[in-house]
């Protein structure tokens, strides 16, 4: 088992909130992902088992949503908004700057396993565009200089 007893407990508790346990699929995947960074095939099978559904059914859910990672990601995922307002106000410059500084393209992870760079749709802060999210934190009005500051604080190269 890769799932910890606490995680199994948490998943069971979520499942208890619904008329049938499969309804907790997204919560369960979120719980599993929080502890293991991404949903490997093995993890997926274990979560499916706890929920009492087939791995194929759970996989159809896992592959549908943007924030469930079915491939390895770094410790911190950088989601930069590439939707219209951010696009207009410099999202692409930020993307390029990130790629250069971290040495990774879209969908890639830095060699030290620290960062993964992924696009995301509008983060609901278009008045503060361009916007990006690093881990749980959202950063507003980002430009390359500000990016350097943000990355500096997290100890990036």
């Amino acid at each position: 088992m890769i799932l910890t007893p606490d995680e199994i407990q948490a998943i069971r508790q979520e499942a208890g909130h619904f008329p049938y346990p499969s309804a907790a699929a997204i919560e369960a995947l979120n719980i599993a992902q929080r502890g293991h960074d991404w949903i490997s095939d093995e993890l997926l099978r274990e979560v499916a088992e706890v929920l009492g559904i087939s791995p194929a059914d759970l996989d159809s859910v896992a592959t549908f949503y943007n924030l469930i990672y079915r491939r390895p990601v770094g410790k911190r995922v950088i989601h930069y908004c590439n939707s219209v307002s951010c696009w207009m106000l410099g999202a692409e410059d930020n993307r390029r700057h990130l790629s250069e500084r971290l040495g990774i393209g879209l969908g890639e992870t830095t060699g030290d396993g620290e960062y993964t760079l992924l696009p995301i749709v509008c983060l609901g802060a278009c008045d503060k565009a361009p916007v990006l999210m690093i881990g749980d934190e959202t950063h507003f009005n980002v430009d390359p200089a500000k990016l350097d500051d943000i990355l500096g604080e997290t100890g990036a190269p």
């Binding site: 949503y65 307002s85 609901g124």
Partner: protein, 427 residues
């Protein structure tokens, strides 16, 4: 000017506490509903208020509720679901309400649940709204502690269990029936209607799905009455509206203003006008799925009817501005890429048609376009339009495209000319 929805929202971005919310009359509307009105009377008040759904479609809220079975023979379990899946590019108003005044939403949820006699409510929140999730969790706990949620609310005999569900990101979850599938732990494909969710929704039970801003209106309507609510507006459509502006203006942002305020006033006064060196070329009045309008439309009141007459939709009321130095064709490409990516893939016209519009636009921008491609794009707008697809994603997706082809035709045609003669209009 009365701004009921945003009056507790603090400039420093912190959330209004329960005490602060109560000091401004918070939970009085709920108290009144529970103590003085029968559920159907609450429904009637909301119907009389003329409140229309603020999520984008603008359907009358009271009317929507009235399709829920009521009375002795109605199913025992009914659900109220909050649509907090704000993912439409250019829309950013619900975040303000969720983060700034979570109790207002909770009170709205309790009133709506009472009106349709639902005992379980879910807040379907997009996964990226981490701060909103934290604040809602705290506010729900507080409300439970003070008997504003849970069993026997304020001693009225009415009970409501409110749960927060954080989603995992997919635009289609904002579609009412797709949202229900998602809440059931499935892929978020829309469902065929009928049956309508009001009769058979979440887990097959009667369900109402309302947008965050819609629900936030309820406490005020209940507390202050229908006439007061109507008086907030400048037009025949009642209430206030949270309008927003993003793009190249001096002060982008969102403001609560009387329904029917004009785009000119919003852009020039509240957003401070265009940034120096930029001129307004067009604007989408209500998010990524609304038709462009032109500067000549700026004095039309921003309400559902007037914007509809002008050929677009009020949508979320959050405008995206196109300036004279941004290429409309590239902007439309960005929008179509979004919709193509977020299509749930359920029906062929949308699944195949949207990537086709993307590739035609890309080809055009790369200088490999032909005149007939513009005709194909136009034809696609019809093929993906209302009535031809399973849900409204595809028709919404072609709104910016069809209006851009109409208003900014020259910009599309410019790409048909040899590169050397195009001129350097856009950076």
């Amino acid at each position: 000017m009365d701004k009921p929805l945003t009056r507790n929202i603090k400039p420093d971005g912190s959330a209004a506490s329960l005490a602060e919310y109560r000091a401004g009359g918070g939970y009085e509307g709920l108290k009144k509903a529970l103590a003085e009105l029968a559920p159907l009377e609450v429904q009637q008040q909301v119907k009389d208020s003329g409140l229309r759904g603020r999520g984008g479609a603008g359907f009358p809220t009271g009317m929507k509720w009235s399709f829920v079975p009521m009375g002795e023979d109605a199913p025992k379990t009914k659900y109220l679901v909050v649509n907090g899946d704000e993912m439409e590019p250019g829309a950013f108003k619900d975040r303000l309400l969720l983060e700034g005044d979570p109790h207002q939403l909770i009170e709205g949820v309790a009133i709506a649940s009472y009106a349709i006699q639902a005992n379980i409510a879910y807040i379907f929140l997009r996964g990226e709204y981490r701060l909103a999730a934290d604040r809602l969790r705290r506010a729900i706990a507080e409300a439970e502690e003070y008997k504003l949620l849970g069993a026997n609310i304020l001693g009225s005999g009415f009970s409501l269990d409110l749960r927060l569900h954080t989603s995992a990101g997919r635009y289609i979850c904002g579609e009412e029936t797709a949202l229900l599938n998602s809440l059931e732990g499935k892929r978020a494909n829309p469902r065929a209607k009928p049956p309508f969710p009001q009769v058979s929704g979440l887990f097959g039970k009667p369900t109402i799905v309302n947008n965050v801003e819609t629900l936030c209106n309820l406490p005020h309507i209940l507390r202050n009455g229908v006439e007061w609510y109507k008086g907030l507006s400048r037009t025949g459509e009642p209430g206030t509206k949270i309008y927003g502006v993003s793009g190249r203006v001096k002060r982008p942002g969102a403001w609560e203003l009387p329904m029917g305020t004009t785009a000119r006033e919003i852009i020039e006064e509240h957003a401070g006008g265009m940034r120096d060196g930029y001129r307004l070329k067009g604007y989408m009045p209500g998010g990524a799925s609304t038709d462009f309008l032109l500067p000549e439309h700026l004095d039309i009141p921003m309400d559902y009817g007037s914007i509809g007459k002008a050929g677009s939709r009020l949508g979320t009321g959050t405008m995206i501005l196109l300036d004279d130095r941004t290429c409309p064709v590239r902007m439309v490409l960005n929008l179509e890429q979004f919709f193509a990516q977020e299509s749930c893939g359920w029906c062929t016209p949308c699944r195949d048609g949207l990537p086709w519009t993307v590739s035609l636009l890309e080809r055009l921008i790369e200088g490999r376009g032909r005149l007939e491609d513009l005709h194909t794009l136009e034809r696609l707008c019809g093929l993906l339009g209302p009535g031809n697809t399973f849900c409204a994603l595809a028709p919404g997706a072609v709104e910016p495209l069809q209006s851009a082809l109409k208003y900014f035709r020259a910009d599309f045609e410019r790409y048909l000319q040899p590169q050397s003669t195009r001129g350097g209009v856009y950076a």
